[in-house]
Amino acid sequence: MKPPRLQARDLAFSYGPASPRVLEPLDLGLEPGSFVGLLGPNGSGKSTLLKLLAGVLRPDQGRVELGEEDLHRIPRGRLASTLAFVPQDVHVWLPFTCREVVAMGRYVHRSGLGLLDSGHDEVIRRCMADTGVLDLAERRITEVSGGEAQRVRIAQALAQEARILVLDEPTSHLDISFQVEVMDLLSRLNRTRGMTVLAALHDLNLASLYCDRLIALRQGRVMRDGPPAAVLEPALLRAVFGVEVEVQPGPGQSPRLFLVPTGGRRP
């Protein structure tokens, strides 16, 4: 089943009435089945935008629509079965096993009162296999490495079987092989199951490799929004990140780019 369209209308946000706006009013639509990368320097409002779109934060102004509905009015259970969100850093204080953590993703699909979990083993196993965390099943989440915990969290979000996946820097704690593995997985879910994927990414090369659309944010404003080749160009990256880069066509198909930094951050 196709995911509903996610649409931000005139969306703005600040953390408290006296604080400056983190996000200037913006309009943004996510087509069902697209793979969108959100770029921007630290503090540009990426996480805030993701949290607004995932329903974790409420907007000061404007609204987010999921299909025809106001996303912030949809009951938690129904929203969680449509949209899954993986925040950047998760601290679990109780020593649940990694399998138990992934099983929590089945909460929206619980039968009865959720007092006994049965009948979810197959989904849980598949999600753990997809993210390469089957070996960690009986390890405590409090005792695995940051990268392993990150993959467990992604497995947990997958267990929700939602059709829209919103991830805040899903590759940040991962080494290069798992970065590629997680991006491959997201890309596979996107292509084969038609899931909408929206991810904040710091690695511009990965973004160009996997996303079919990129949105560049700076100081809460959309600086550019389009296919990778249109966004990843030296002048824009200078304006957004303040760095000099050289863009080279990558091997193989045309949208792949290699970005080589050639100069440091401008004052």
């Binding site: 329903g55 399998r99 929590m104 909460y107 007092l115």
Partner: protein, 339 residues
């Protein structure tokens, strides 16, 4: 490590807890300043008419309500502690964190010092006013901490401290005025099951029953809350509603327990940690394990409290704190060594 199913872990925890509780209950009935033989206990059950009247009084009018009240209060405090630690994600949270203890203390002190009549006809003045004080403090904390539709953890803890300090100051003030009533106030503040009777058992039972069922039903969501508000939210838990429900259930259970027995410290902090070590963090197993463990723990502590210096009784709160504090230190130290 092989995974044991939730149902099996739950069954094991309940069976183990029930066994422990049964042993604690038996010991609590048999041991005391007047020892009772198992035969006499059996006779009290099978043929009470043949029992010597003094023994019957000790068993049925003194020890039975006391053991029952100990079980109910212990279970209440441990359940509330597990709930508060879970929802506040704070291993140092205890049932008194909401200010119910200070509110109850103020109510009880007022009743003792000013010799107020009971506003609740079915209860004697001290538990009645303690209960009303606990409810009042809980409502005050809730009103202070609530911002719009949310109950932020920091404001909540702060409001608990503010209300607790204020009520504590009032208690101190009343104590300076108390004169001959001072020992009663002090004894109440240290916690005791010495006043156990049917009316106090009846005061605690319904709250423990309703609060316990509520907390158990909320336990799957409590598991998710350990991931943090944002994750729990995106997994489908209405975190704010959960917070309010857990705090309400925990506070009511605590309010009833505190008014029946005074301030029994450390149990609500310690037992959830012990239970978590034994059965793991899943609240669906932890809640029943905590309740049974807390019940057994308090009955045993009370047996010690009334036998160690017999015929003089030690407040049971002194026993729980004397056992609990070093044990808790060891627990934290051990965990620090692991990480």
């Amino acid at each position: 490590m092989k995974r044991t199913s939730l149902a099996l872990r739950l069954a094991l925890a309940c069976a183990g807890g029930a066994l422990l509780l049964a042993v604690a209950g038996l010991v609590g009935m048999l041991v005391g300043s007047v020892p009772i033989t198992p035969g006499e206990l059996w006779m009290a059950w099978s043929d009470p008419a043949r029992l010597d009247p003094a023994t019957a009084t000790i068993l049925l009018d003194l020890r039975l309500p006391r053991v029952l009240l100990g079980m109910l209060v212990g279970a209440s405090l441990a359940l509330a502690g597990s709930g508060f630690q879970g929802i506040l994600r704070n291993p140092l949270a205890d049932p008194y964190i909401v200010g119910t203890s200070a509110g109850a203390a103020l109510g009880a002190t007022l009743a003792i010092v000013l010799h107020l009549p009971s506003p609740l006809p079915w209860l004697s003045p001290v538990p009645a006013l303690a209960f009303l004080g606990a409810l009042g403090a809980m409502l005050a904390v809730y009103r202070l901490a609530r911002i719009g539709n949310t109950l932020p953890v920091e404001t909540f803890l702060l409001a608990g401290v503010v209300v607790g300090s204020f009520a504590g100051a009032m208690v101190s003030f009343l104590m300076t005025m108390a004169h001959e009533d001072l020992p009663r106030v002090v004894f109440w503040l240290m916690g005791s099951l010495g006043q156990a009777d049917a009316s106090r058992v009846a005061l605690v039972s319904p709250y423990l029953l309703i609060g316990g069922v509520a907390l158990y039903l909320l336990s799957p969501a409590l598991n998710l809350a350990s991931m943090g508000d944002e994750v729990a939210w995106s997994l489908g838990v209405d975190v704010e509603r959960l917070k309010i429900r857990v705090i309400l259930a925990g506070s009511l259970v605590t309010a009833a327990a505190v008014s029946a027995s005074g301030l029994i410290g450390f149990l609500g902090l310690l037992v959830p940690h012990l239970a978590r070590m034994l059965v793991g963090p899943d609240h669906r197993v932890l809640m029943p394990a905590s309740a049974l463990g807390g019940a057994a723990f308090l009955v045993m502590a009370d047996t010690v409290a009334r036998t160690v210096g017999a015929p003089q009784e030690i407040p049971v709160g002194v026993v729980t704190a004397m056992v609990g504090a070093p044990f808790f230190f060891w627990l934290l130290h051990r965990r620090k060594g692991l990480s």
